[in-house]
């Protein structure tokens, strides 16, 4: 460990660490385009120049390694002047089409201009013309005029995905980003370049012109597309007189799970959140009220011989309450899961398409197999917790807890509950990492959560925290709830 001084304030950090990394970790504002934690330094944008005592000229923070007693200035008058000039250089040929640019609001150029620039353009000659609105494939649109040539996207395709689809062509003033000749962007992680791009050069075709980003609320959540459980932000909003709508998923940095990225399929799985069931309760094929169907279910549970099937994507708390219910009414709980060998890879995609299979196994739920089919014969009631694998071999009483339209629509009793984007909970991924997803405080939910419905069936009042705390010693290595809310925790396999 060494001590460095930034703007005369001491900071203790590891020796030989990159200066820009130390500055960013300590929340010291440092403008930069080409450096990215996942891609390392490239040193081409020159935006991160800092003043270092004892050196003649300003140095770039992304190519300076810290040593004991290093004295850095990021706010001195001369370095502010330098940063301003570099920014002016970056903006020389920028088209300034912020009104039509989807990046506006989360654009580094805009942010730095407000921080350092605030000058009028001194360019009196015509700006460079390049191509705009190019479709590169994989839902990505390229605008070459807005590009600052930081090469993050090029490095992503060469270093992370190793597919080399993007290159820089031309020289000097005329250089531009494009796809490698005879290639299109086509890899399962391609859309990450949209988040990597610090400006509006690479934007999403899927999100194109849908919303301005400053109208969006971000909620910390977890992708439910596979058992990897990548951390994401859900960007959603409710427009005036309308219901809440999810507009996109963005990766959330979580070094224990997904790093900085998510796969394209997970990113586009936001659409499922907008296709949930209407808020209704069905009893004997008719629309009913919550109270009456609750009464009906309790009566059936007491009189009938039940069996339950859970989706392996339920949250930890939901599964724990199903377990409580099964102990109260003495029925077996089965689970099933989807597996897609073609989907899985060794990076961020898992072939198991359920997000909480680990917990289902942990709680000793039984895998749907032959014994399930056999035991069905003697049962007279099926409880289905959002599983898609439910089969109905013969007319048999069924109570379903669904988020989306089910298979046996209007032929059974149905509780509709909130999908994960409007709920909170814990999930354990295939590597045994337990993470939490949160609920937006701005969304008024119309539906009940599954936790509330199960609580009413149990006549209990568990919260997410209390049900987890009850079982944490038994199943979850005594990791406190508050710790998981802050940061993912490793349970181990």
């Amino acid at each position: 460990m060494v001590t460095i001084y930034v703007n005369n304030k001491p900071i203790i950090c590891k020796d030989k660490e990159l200066l820009i990394k130390v500055l960013k970790e300590n929340d010291i504002f440092i403008p930069h385009f080409c450096y990215h934690e996942s891609l390392g330094a490239d040193g081409n944008c020159r935006m991160c120049l800092v003043e270092i005592e004892g050196s003649k000229r300003p140095q770039i923070a992304c190519d300076t390694f810290v040593y004991d007693g290093l004295r850095v200035h990021t706010k001195s008058e001369s370095i502010l002047e330098t940063n301003k000039d570099i920014l002016e250089l970056e903006l020389l040929s920028h088209p300034v089409d912020c009104p039509t640019c989807d990046q506006a609001g989360e654009c580094s150029l805009q942010n730095y201009y407000m921080e350092y620039g605030l000058y009028d353009s001194r360019v009196s000659v015509a700006k460079n013309k390049k191509d705009k609105a190019l479709d590169l494939g994989s839902n990505i649109m390229l605008d070459q005029e807005r590009c600052v040539l930081c090469m993050r996207c090029v490095r992503f395709c060469s270093d992370i995905t190793k597919t080399d689809e993007l290159v820089v062509m031309g020289r000097g003033n005329d250089s531009y980003i494009t796809t490698t000749p005879f290639m299109r962007l086509s890899n399962p992680y391609a859309m990450n370049v949209i988040d990597l791009c610090p400006v509006g050069a690479l934007t999403s075709k899927d999100f194109r012109f849908k919303q301005r980003v400053w109208f969006l609320d971000s909620t910390q959540s977890i992708c439910h597309a596979c058992s990897k459980n990548c951390s994401i932000f859900i960007d959603h909003n409710a427009q005036k007189n309308q219901n809440d709508h999810v507009h996109r998923f963005r990766p959330r940095v979580n070094t224990m799970v997904n790093g900085h990225f998510i796969c394209d399929e997970g990113r586009l799985s936001y659409k499922k959140a907008n296709e949930t069931r209407k808020n209704d309760f069905i009893m004997k094929s008719r629309i009913s009220t919550y109270e009456s169907i609750l009464k009906h279910t309790k009566k059936l549970l007491q009189s009938e011989n039940a069996i339950a099937l859970v989706s392996a994507s339920l949250s930890v708390e939901q599964m724990l309450l199903v377990k409580e219910l099964s102990e109260m009414y003495l029925f077996d709980v089965y689970y099933d899961y989807k597996e897609d060998e073609k989907f899985g890879d060794d990076f961020l995609k898992s072939s198991i398409k359920e997000s909480n299979l680990y917990t289902a196994k942990l709680l000793d739920f039984k895998l749907v197999d032959k014994p399930y089919e056999e035991s069905l014969i003697s049962k007279s009631l099926i409880l289905n917790f959002n599983s898609e694998f439910i089969s109905k071999p013969r007319p048999i009483e069924m109570i379903e807890f669904l988020t989306h339209e089910g298979k046996f629509e209007r032929s059974s009793s149905i509780f509709t509950y909130e999908y994960f984007h409007n709920d909170m909970g814990l999930l354990i991924n295939s590597d045994g990492v337990i993470s939490s997803y949160k609920k937006s405080s701005k969304v008024k939910s119309e539906k009940f959560t599954l936790l509330k419905i199960l609580n009413d069936l149990l006549d209990e009042s568990y919260t997410n925290e209390s049900i987890y705390e009850k079982y944490k010693e038994l199943f979850f290595k005594n990791i406190p709830y508050s710790k998981i809310m802050k940061q993912s925790q490793r349970l181990g396999l």
Partner: protein, 171 residues
Amino acid sequence: MGIKTVQRPQKSLKHSLYISALYGGLKTTIKKFTQNISDIDSIPTINYPEQQPSDITSRYRGVHRLTKRADDTISCVACFMCATACPSKCIFIEATQRTDGVDEKMPRTFTIDMLECVFCGYCVEACPCDAIRMDSGIFTLIAKQREDFLYDKEKLLSIKGAFGNEVSNAK
């Protein structure tokens, strides 16, 4: 920051009787009454609607309109600046890919709910393209049902400016 304490004036007997204040008020009323009776034509009030106001200038904030560029394409690029600035949130825009080849983006729908609008003019100030203006000179809004107060893109484009300068000044 220090606070300066100001002493309130003490009420004297003269003030608490209100007689002098009453006299002062009545004096003004009677003076104006006789003045107006003797010279009816100089009263600023007009006999609306038989008489129409003559003092509406180009700065008057009338009903909004959307402008067109010199090549007859819509000026609006659906940047949502007006909707962002709007304090009553009464501007509803849906953006789409531009089809006329002039720019990248244009509004698919652009609706102003005139019943919610407070006519503050912030949208006009916020617009970077001089696409929305309030220079129509229309100061009355009449409709037979609530739905008619939702002015859509076509209606806003069809309203003409009342003070010349039809074409948008932007790029």
